[in-house]
């Protein structure tokens, strides 16, 4: 555990070393997030509510999504690169350490730009999420569960590269798909798409369900979210462990 924490600390220091670049990238991400907020504000200027979703509820969803993205893609940046690293035979450095290689890989790299999301999400929640002590606690719980689902899903589809080969194209598509599906209210989708959001591409657990919980706490919904978080995290670890048996070194000693 100490090695993992030290590695994580080093990754954060590395991201912070070039201050100018750090603030530039964070600012660009904040501007990016603001454009999405502007989009939703303009959208709801023309359409008052869509299947029970109004402006404030969508902004709450967006606050949760950006927080989840900040944790999963900013702090644990390698979560989305498992496919590429496996395909390139770049896991050697992680395999030689006395810690679980997946844990090391996840904390090894911080994406500076996406840390902007980690600032933006909580700020948006404070400004538009009507925070109370109870709602804030649920916001944190929902964001952490959403992050576990997203990381587990990304690791799982990345680890598929170890079974099916290629250069991780399916991981790229899965990453883009889950993020865009999680960016919109879950209730606008119907039929097969909605089923997909609760199963193969679990976007509903990343933003939709946490938003519902903040607005209306139900123990059954919370239990479903927690179960999904545990399931997808376990799936990611299991597929990665199984896939490692098929890993071929690229004889490239990289920083991973």
């Amino acid at each position: 555990m100490r090695i993992i924490l030290s590695t994580f600390k080093n990754s954060l220091i590395e991201a912070w070393t070039n201050r100018r670049s750090f603030w530039l990238q964070v600012s660009i991400m904040l501007a990016n997030d603001l454009v999405w907020v502007l989009f939703w504000i303009l959208f709801f200027e023309r359409v008052s509510t869509v299947r029970g979703w109004d402006r404030s509820r969508v902004l709450l969803l967006f606050a949760i999504l950006t927080t989840v993205a900040g944790i999963s893609l900013g702090l644990l940046a390698n979560a989305r690169k498992i496919g590429q690293l496996s395909a390139g035979g770049e896991l050697d450095a992680a395999l030689a350490l006395p810690v679980h290689p997946l844990a090391f890989l996840l904390v090894r790299r911080v994406d500076t730009g996406l840390l902007g999301d980690l600032f933006f999400g909580p700020i948006l929640f404070v400004l538009a999420g009507e925070p109370t002590l109870e709602r804030t606690a649920i916001f944190i719980f929902g964001s952490l569960c959403g992050a576990a689902v997203l990381v587990g899903f990304l690791v799982a589809i990345g680890a598929l590269t170890l079974f099916i080969g290629g250069t991780g194209e399916q991981a790229d598509l899965g990453f883009q798909t889950i993020l865009i599906l999680a960016s919109y209210p879950v209730d606008i989708f119907g039929g097969a798409t909605k089923l997909l959001l609760f199963t193969a591409v679990p976007a509903a657990f990343i933003s939709g369900l946490p938003t519902r919980l903040v607005d209306d706490w139900q123990w059954t919904t919370a239990a479903a979210l927690l179960t999904a978080a545990l399931l997808f995290a376990s799936l990611g670890v299991a597929l990665f462990n199984l896939g490692l048996h098929r890993y071929s070194s690229g004889a490239r000693w990289t920083r991973a």
């Binding site: 990016n32 454009v35 200027e45 299947r51 194209e169 606008i188």
Partner: protein, 260 residues
């Protein structure tokens, strides 16, 4: 028959994209997801709004999305960053050894790649649209939208080269791709038709070139056969090509490459 270097770059671009089917499949697969998301959003929104939003019904909006997203997805999302990297690393100096225009040669190759993606995206979009809502609202609009889609891709590429040229002067210019993308999203009419923006913002959008990349083909495809939009696009394309050429000419004069 001898091929001009630009034509050769264009056809090589086509071949290169066709030779990487997995990458193409990911891009078109993502386009399919976007269509599912936006068709769901606009269906729900028009239902909640009595069937029409600012003159657009669900059918018009779906064909709008197909054209707007199809044209934008045809170009590389991080092209500005790639060009910025080539300038920053000095790799662009190799292109300068050829007896052709650097920007012209590169844009020809990019156009070749983009045409393949555009054809695939619009073909998929056409099937999606026909199955979901039937044919485009007007044949005349469709006929105008097809050349507009090609012009949109051309405008997008040349604008990205103009933006990327900033890397000759500013170290972090490659990051501007992110802001450029957002300008296309909002002022380009990719996420929302300009008619849905507040009047003042729509006015600003119409003064800038971004709307030529998504709004124009999408507006035409959604049944509004406004042929003058093609002339506006053509005019902007000429201005943008001139701007990209001038920016690169000036940048190439001050390029300093260390090592090799």
């Amino acid at each position: 028959m001898t091929r001009t270097p630009y034509w050769a770059a264009f056809t090589d671009g086509i071949r290169r994209t066709m030779a990487a089917p997995a990458e193409l499949a990911v891009r078109i697969g993502f386009f399919a997801v976007i269509l599912v998301v936006f068709s769901s959003l606009w269906r729900a929104a028009t239902q909640a709004n009595g069937g029409m939003i600012q003159g657009y019904g669900y059918r018009e909006l779906l064909w709008y999305v197909i054209a707007a997203e199809g044209c934008v997805i045809a170009t590389k999302p991080r092209l500005i960053e790639e060009i910025g990297d080539d300038i920053g690393s000095g790799d662009i100096a190799i292109d300068m050894l050829r007896p052709v225009s650097v920007v012209g040669f590169r844009m020809a190759a990019e156009m070749g790649e983009a045409v393949v993606r555009l054809v695939c995206a619009l073909s998929l979009g056409a099937v999606f649209g026909l199955v979901s809502v039937g044919a485009p609202p007007s044949l005349e609009g469709l006929l105008a939208a097809l050349p507009a889609a090609l012009l949109a891709v051309g405008c997008n590429l040349t604008m990205q080269y103009s933006f990327a040229a900033a890397a000759f002067w500013v170290e972090d210019a490659k990051s501007t791709w992110f802001l450029y993308q957002k300008l296309i999203f909002l002022l380009g009419g990719m996420l929302l038709p300009l008619e849905l923006l507040p009047g003042w913002l729509a006015g600003i959008a119409r003064l800038l070139p971004f709307w030529t990349t998504a709004y124009v083909p999408a507006r035409l495809m959604s049944g509004h056969a406004e042929w003058h939009l093609l002339i506006v696009q053509l005019g902007w394309l000429i201005v943008l090509v001139a701007a990209a050429l001038a920016a690169f000419r000036a940048g190439e004069r001050r390029l300093v490459v260390t090592g090799g």
